[in-house]
Point group: C2
Chain length 266, copies 2
Amino acid sequence: MPRIITGFSNPLVKRIKSLRDKKHRRAEGQFLAEGLRILTEAQEAGHLPRIVISTSEGARHPLAMALIAATEAAGGEAVETDRDILSKLSGKDNPQTVLGVFDEFDTRLEAIDRTESGIWIVAQSLRDPGNLGTILRTGDAIGAGGVILLDDCVDPFSVEAVRASMGALFTQRIARARWEAFLPWLRSGPGQLVGTSLNTDHDYQAVRYAAPTFILSGNESQGLPPDYEAACDLTVKIPMLGKADSLNVAVATAVMAYEVLNQRRR
Amino acid sequence: MPRIITGFSNPLVKRIKSLRDKKHRRAEGQFLAEGLRILTEAQEAGHLPRIVISTSEGARHPLAMALIAATEAAGGEAVETDRDILSKLSGKDNPQTVLGVFDEFDTRLEAIDRTESGIWIVAQSLRDPGNLGTILRTGDAIGAGGVILLDDCVDPFSVEAVRASMGALFTQRIARARWEAFLPWLRSGPGQLVGTSLNTDHDYQAVRYAAPTFILSGNESQGLPPDYEAACDLTVKIPMLGKADSLNVAVATAVMAYEVLNQRRR
């Protein structure tokens, strides 16, 4: 049976709202995901929330009923509340009717098994949560194993990144590492590190990619540091015919990733 | 000589700030672009601001000096102000040091010459300004002629769209039309209308695209309406191997656009 909460001063409401801040996510080891669609994707990928919060109408949707039952069966908690509180939790006038609180995943590099896929995405100092979510979504679509976040990247458990991932946060492996730890890990097994760069003559379509391919993209405004490029097995460039000298990083990553996938489809 | 403005209650400051709102942009027929990089791209593409606003330090950058001189020579106005006012104009603690006020462009369909390029992007009911800016940036990169916005799309002159376009707003043609006006216009000349869809067996790489190709993408959450798909010369699908059934719309548009470009490069 769900617990009913109606007051905004309820400690659980306050704690859930605090998960919008990175500091509190870090302290609690938990994060927030919004919307029945994303929560159902999570459930299908084997991730159940610790707490599922919904309006009483929201709880009547068949998918929400299944989610709530599974959450309670796994020892989690179901909470019913009103629309005003959900608005405050989500920071939106028109909130999703179902939210979930999840435990953060293990994001150590050592938790990744590179043999799970022939394509991995590596992002360095990525700053925009929308870009990260979009890259996770692309990773899911191309059958990547996951996304490895290097150096100072945006938090993958931020509400905005989870939302932009459209649930791919739960289907992709995610690791976080410094470059100094990543490079030895990469070289300890098979793997072709391919950097997207402007400082090369290698057209991205003129190259054969070897599995597992690690596609490396740099920061939104700086691109990759020169020594990172130098450590790549290969740097390639995507043709650009216009006035601008770069693509959005999530777009560049997707164009690269589809080229690797398309070569394997032939 | 620049006019110096130091008070936040100055009518010009108020008017410029109001351009962040669509209603005021519509009333004034003007919009705001932020940052020397984007303003320089605009200048190179032949678009000078009516008003250029900068801090006194910002005005000393060689590119800013050239921009200010060209703006004044063309009958525009240069304004110097302080960082606090620029913060308020941009809504950011750490504002760009140069802003420009531009006249909105002619966005009638009739202003487009389809022979200018072999690729055009058409977006239907696009809602997110970041997606629109990213699509404009991709359009510039692949040498598209421009972006045609169908039905109820986000305003291309919004500050967020201009920013995400990284200046491509000034190098791409932009038109706005209802579907009912677009389709007769399209059929009045050469053009292959290609829709990205989930409801087809045509792999996007198994098709030869004919110039001028009009790549049609649908709304972020709804995709294309069935009757729009039915009116396409061709619907194609991008392979998706994961759990999710769609890509971010700016990513899907870029993957399609690079396929068309790559076929022409061979």
